[in-house]
Amino acid sequence: MRRVYLDHSATTPVDPEVAELMMTYYTEKYGNPSSVHSFGRETKAALENARESVANLMNAEPTEITFTSGGTEADNLAIFGVAEAYSKKGKHIITSAVEHNAVIDTCEFLAKNGYELTILPVDEEGFISVDDVAKAIRPDTILITIMHANNEVGTIQPIAEIGKIAKEKDVIFHVDAVQSFGKIPVDVKAMNVDLMTVSSHKIYGPKGVGALYIRRGVRVIPRVHGGGQERKRRSGTENTPGIIGFGKACELAAQRMAQDAEREAALRDKLLEGIMERIDYVKLNGPRGENRLPGNLNVSIQFIEGEALLLSLDLMGIAASSGSACTSGSLDPSHVLLAMGLSHEIAHGSLRFSFGRQNTEEDVDYVLEQLPKIVERLRMMSPLYDQVKHSKTQKANAL
């Protein structure tokens, strides 16, 4: 059976070139970079080389990059690190309603421990208002943490504008750029960002590696104590093969970004149009145009539930994801879709397709062949569709 992977926002395969390089560091150049001997020195040099590659892709200095075990840890280090370092100045943190759990749950943990949180709303396309940010800043605000691109609906926030305000008001600004880094241009200087989270496994690097950009001069209390690696900001024997793989993935992303984005956006648009033609009662979630991640498509297919859709697609070899509660074991569907004003019912029927390097037109054709059949089958079972068929009201797709 054909297998079509359309879940690159969840994770990507490791690029073969990256994997091959990593192999060398697993089995041959395995020294601990803290060691004095040549085994250690050769990995140390490669580690610093990787730091430069990561820094280059965001216009930062290598010394401003702290490697972590992933995006989640980097988000935690940024938020806890700043909250603890600047608690004398204040305890107010501003974030948004559409952040990843790595940010939201961390902020909420702080809120339970003496910090105060302002959670900014978004509009129906998922955008945060720059004005709202400005208005939320108080004298005791120590941190603004807003994501660059949303992982579910692909909405790209006006980071540079928010960065300008943060700078004017002298508030530290953290950006979760896990979904945008390596996919669209990211420039910490141009965007006035103080801290930025990135993750390797979203850009064809290995899982278990991420980095936090920490602008020179910004203080962060470490979360992991020990051997003093990463300039004492993050202890623990460095995951050298992983970090070196991440560095290589950044180099490849720098070369391929523009062409990948164009290809993926074209495939994405073809899929969207095909779905809209073939299936009724479908709603596009998130914006159209350049303020959306090129590889992201998110639609709600009404009257059916997301997990049932995913399972059915999976049986046909198609991997996608959903904001349905039933895929997460929680009771509420995606907080992102709810924050955008979707009803629970429509949020439950959401489906995300995220494109990557190896996807082809044939992949899209295959989805367009399978999806309508699946939707029909599930709608036949659905008591909600019944009602609609009987009433025959809002037939047109919501665009």
């Binding site: 539930e305 997301g306 997990e307 049932a308 049986l315 039933c326 009803s343 079972m381 008591p383 019944d386």
Partner: protein, 124 residues
């Protein structure tokens, strides 16, 4: 994640559909939670002659609905009342823990349908 039996009932659900002028209809859940199950019964004497379902929900919701219809067909009302959400899950070789709470409502829907039938009988 799901057992083979769950996947079988999800992909090949038994007794999907409606019964016109059903003897009893029961519905549980709501769209907000992501699960709605509706069960239709046809009863002759004390025996459930036919049963159909319509479900909006995840794989577990569909499979439990399908399974409960199989378990109940040809049974007496009394026997049907003994079916629990747990026995439906067991008949499917179990469900993932997270699903036991939120999507395992098929027996409830069945009981609602029986209640509806019994109410109709009393009013008739």
């Amino acid at each position: 994640m799901y057992s083979e039996k769950v996947m079988d009932h999800f992909m090949n659900p038994r007794n999907v559909g409606e019964i016109e002028d059903a003897a009893g209809v029961g519905e549980v859940g709501n769209a907000k939670c992501g699960d709605i199950m509706r069960i239709y019964l046809d009863v002759e004497g004390d025996i459930i002659k036919d049963v159909k379902f319509k479900t909006f929900g995840c794989g577990a919701a569909v499979a439990t609905s399908s399974m409960v219809t199989e378990m109940v067909k040809g049974k007496t009302i009394e026997e049907a009342l003994k079916i629990t959400n747990k026995s439906v899950a067991d008949a499917l070789d179990g469900l993932p823990p997270a699903k036991m709470h939120c999507s395992n409502l098929a027996a409830d829907a069945l009981h609602e349908a029986i209640k509806n039938y019994q109410e109709k009988m009393q009013n008739a």
